[in-house]
């Protein structure tokens, strides 16, 4: 199959589907006779990505695969078309989500301990309804509290391919080094380990 034709078929498929397409799904579009390798699909995707550079749509790779999307820079015009105005998320919701994303799996108790306030059931419900978090199990302690983790949908929604792509957490500093650090003009504030690597993802 010619590369241009392969590109056009992938383009048609990616635009036809309202969900991201995984490489495997793209491969399944073709019959065995058509003999399309994974490599040639990836090459065609790269070509499409280059082709759409700077246009009103872009081809992005996220956790579940590839999808065409309208870039951020066109949101002002596109959102005028939308009947429902996109909602803003409360700080309580975002902080709860951040704690789940960076420290998963966590219980509600873990979140409350760090935030210093109660987590409303409504927030957890909203996050579940958005399919950003799910209960992955229960911690083996009295009461067996639910353990929350983020979903693939969460990664997709935030344009991430995996958890390691989350913005890095700022470092914790040690109080005992305070005097030394302050004297040394407060250097090295952001060079310590970040937690993101601890959160494994099974992509």
């Amino acid at each position: 199959m010619q590369e241009a034709r392969l590109c056009a078929i992938l383009e048609a498929a990616l635009f036809a589907q309202a969900k991201p397409l995984a490489l495997e799904q793209m491969q399944e579009l073709f019959s065995i006779d058509e003999n399309i390798s994974r490599d040639s699909i990836e090459a065609a995707l790269r070509q499409l990505q280059a082709f759409y550079q700077g246009r009103g749509v872009e081809l992005v790779r996220i956790a579940s695969g590839y999808r065409f999307q309208v870039p951020f820079s066109y949101a002002p015009w596109v959102s005028r078309l939308m009947e429902e105005k996109p909602q803003r998320y409360s700080r309580a919701l975002l902080e709860t989500l951040a704690l789940i994303a960076y420290r998963q799996p966590v219980t509600r108790g873990d979140i409350e301990e760090i935030r210093g306030v109660a987590v409303s059931t409504q927030i957890l419900r909203t996050l579940m309804e958005r399919d950003w978090i799910r209960v992955a199990g229960h911690r083996d302690v009295p009461g067996r509290p639910a353990l929350y983790v983020t979903t693939r949908q969460f990664l997709d929604s935030f344009q991430l391919t995996r958890l390691a792509d989350l913005p890095p957490l700022s470092a914790l500093r040690d109080l005992e080094q305070i005097n030394a650090e302050l004297e040394l003009l407060d250097v090295g504030q952001e060079t310590k380990t970040n937690d993101v690597d601890e959160v494994n993802d099974d992509e």
Binding site: F15, A101, I114, R115
Partner: protein, 275 residues
């Protein structure tokens, strides 16, 4: 509140706090009383409020002037209470924690190097503040990411005249056999009333087939059936053939798809025991 009574600030009437607000509280902490409730909602809890108080003065978390921060925190609490705004329990707990830290800081340290006195009383609070602050920042970072449906939009095009391909369910053989097993069991119930006379023995038929195969090396599959025996006879012959195949006594051969099937006896074999 009992927590408050241990601090000097509680003795101060609200009016005085009000009067000294310009000098002793960060300016933007003075808020018209009717807006205080809104102000409270702006904080995500006592840690958030404390961070605010610290950051307002460009202080490092690691170097909190506990006495000063505690004083500010408590006067803020007091304002809320005098306005009868109901405070979440977490705020009151924090007031107690701050007061305790403050009093421990005031105690003279007798032995600087002893393990007992080693820990800075502020350590736990500083740890919590830092921990909270990094997630507060992470939440802001998350919010800054382009979110689908808010900042970016999945591209979609019309596909109304393209219809989904037909796909058939998969079935495995075991499933098919289980279905057959069910139907046979049911049919046994039916047949026990109506049949019982024909008396065709499966073993007899098996022996019969093997007998015939000794004479001809290769027989047509169809030749093993006698139509005059009716359905029952055909079924018995068929089952006999299947049984013989299973026991490895005969082979069924089909040269091409849907082509004629032939039956052949295997080279080494034993006669099945007749009934």
């Amino acid at each position: 509140m009992q927590n408050m009574s241990s601090t000097p600030q509680t003795e101060m009437p609200f009016a005085l706090v009000h009067g000294r607000a310009m000098t002793e509280l960060p300016e933007d902490l003075y808020i018209p009383p009717d807006a205080l409730e809104v102000f409270l909602e702006a904080f995500e809890g006592p840690l958030d409020l404390l961070l605010y108080l610290i950051r307002r003065q460009n202080l490092d978390i690691l170097d909190i002037p506990v006495a000063e921060i505690t004083r500010q925190y408590l006067s803020y609490m007091e304002m809320m209470q005098s306005l009868r705004i109901e405070l979440a329990a977490e705020y009151l707990v924090m007031a107690a924690v701050l007061s305790e830290i403050k009093s421990r800081c005031l105690l003279p340290r007798l032995h600087h190097d002893s393990a007992e006195e080693g820990e800075d009383p502020r350590a736990e609070l500083v740890r919590r503040l830092q921990e909270y602050e990094r997630y507060k920042q992470a939440a802001l970072d998350l919010d800054a990411l382009p979110v689908e449906g808010r900042d970016v939009f999945q591209a979609q095009v019309d596909v109304h005249d393209i219809h989904p391909a037909r796909r058939w369910p998969d079935v495995d053989l075991a499933e098919l056999l289980l279905a057959l097993q069910d139907v046979l069991r049911r049919s046994e119930l039916f047949e026990s009333h109506t049949i019982g006379a024909e008396g065709l023995s499966l073993r007899e038929r098996m022996a019969d087939i093997v007998q015939r195969l000794q004479e001809d090396v290769l027989l047509s599959f169809a030749a093993l059936f006698r139509l005059d025996e009716g359905r029952q006879g055909i079924v018995v012959s068929f089952m006999a053939i299947l049984e013989l195949v299973k026991e490895g006594l005969i082979d069924l051969l089909q040269a091409e798809p849907a082509g004629p099937i032939h039956v052949r006896r295997r080279q080494t074999q034993r006669l099945p025991v007749g009934e």
